[in-house]
Amino acid sequence: MNQDALIYLKNISKSYGSQMVLDDFNLYIRENEFLTLLGPSGCGKTTTLRILGGFETPDKGTVLFNNEDITNLSPNKRQLNTVFQKYALFTHMNIAENIAFGLKIKGKSKSYIDDKIKYALKLVNLDGYEKRMPDSLSGGQQQRIAIARAIVNEPKVLLLDEPLGALDLKLRQDMQYELIRLKNELGITFIYVTHDQEEALTMSDTIVVMNQGYIQQIGTPEKIYNEPENAFVADFIGDSNILDGIMVKDELVQILGANFSCVDSGFGLNKPVDVVIRPEDVELVDEKDGTITGTVTHLIFKGVHYEMEVTANGFEWLVHSTNCFPVGTKVGIHVKPFNIQIMNKPESEDEEASHVEE
């Protein structure tokens, strides 16, 4: 077993009625890690978090925390705290009372509690809000109070359940930096649940991509983005062109009837594969220089780049480029070998959703 693992979810299964939410789920979480559970709704990410928080009991499997079995421990006895999706502040108490809630139950002295309230409010940049009522605060402020309320208890792990989901875009981006700063200052483990891939890429040390109760891929944001293990991950993280290909031989893949050089090997001869090419990796060149040729069918200005659709050999290529090619232009398509990501095709639906080891 992994030596520096703080939490170990071992063979966890959970179903609601006939619906399997988690199936033989295994995950290590290291100390002082910002780990994000990322996936579409219904992928089991929130259930995983609720099992960690103690609000759900798994049907099968164990949850180890510091090598102790906490599977059946009630939430109030766990050394972790949760920041809930819609803040879940106590609306009948003022901010100071909200933050003091956990400390009062632990029987801390009044001066200790007062110091902690001051410290926590400073940490979330809301000094002087002690006497305000939660209803009088904006969404972003309420969320920061919810975080303050959780961290004054000095948990080893902070669980965050889509905490930025209800905020508008600008505020969400600000809060992302705030959360990274908080995590660094506190030096504790953050387990973050979201369906927003951009949020996951920005903040995480480790991303766990989930689908239908199975882990699809575990890795750093760079690894997840640049080397997706399967078509699901490639499709879920960022935009991508996912094509059917045939691995003619090592380092040569046939896509849409044309041969592209790539860097992958070991797939065998003439093996059908999935090919992922990120839109920013598709290079539009002069017609005669392209591996294949096509026509630009759509052009949108996106600010940072132009987004174009190019129809070539019957496939609509999504292309991001800082160069503009007007609709109707005949272009050549070129992709650098290391920008072509080759993946085994799933043999069945089950395998598509199956567990992938790190």
Partner: protein, 273 residues
Amino acid sequence: MLKNKQKLMLGLPYYFWAIAFIIIPLCLVIYYGLTDKTGAFTFNNIASIADPQHTKALWIAVKLSIISTIICLFLAYPLAMILVNFKKGKSSILVMLFILPMWMNFLLRTMAWQTLLENTGVINTLLQTIGLPKINIINTPGAIIFGMVYNFLPFMVLPIYNSLAKIDINVVNAARDLGANGIITFGRITLPLSLPGVISGITMVFVPALTTFVISAILGGNKILLIGNVIEQEFSQTSNWHLGSGLSMVLMVFIIISMIFTAIFDKDGEGLI
């Protein structure tokens, strides 16, 4: 946007209703309450609450309605919690079961209980058949309390159910998460957050219980006079509208006090349906 004139037109039926059936009767009650049979101004009608018989009737009414309200509260709160914890579909069926008897005539239901509770009634006949002693409950304060609880329980359950249903489950989870056990969570979170419903429930049970004369007449056999029965008799039997109105005004003070109580604790009218 409606113009002011259009708004006024739309409101007209309600203004008419309020004037004809609320304002005018209220003025009449006040007029009768403050005059004697010759039409001269007097405080005697109101002061007659000091008459030992009237004081006793008011005291019994207050006592019985407080007891009923407390019993309703302790029956309704756990019940509302059970209802809230049921899954959506199931709970609406259960809530329906509680509302269903309210569709039947109130008088009819109360009279049914009279037949059931009578000394030679259904329950006592059954008890005797299986060799158990008779229970003498009819025409006692107990029977009146029973009738009040039976009739007014739904009015306590529904507001409490509503305010409990509004509590975000994650607020309760957050308290647990912060270290509170089940009892502390209930005392510090669930109960305070459901207080508006409790207060509305108390008002909605206490006010009709305090003023009822039907339940005490049927299940108390007119042997136990509540203030409601005294007022009713002044109007229907003694034909002393002046005294009846004066006593009504005294009773109104009690009702207004409980309304103010509600207004303070349930500012947003949350507990109301």
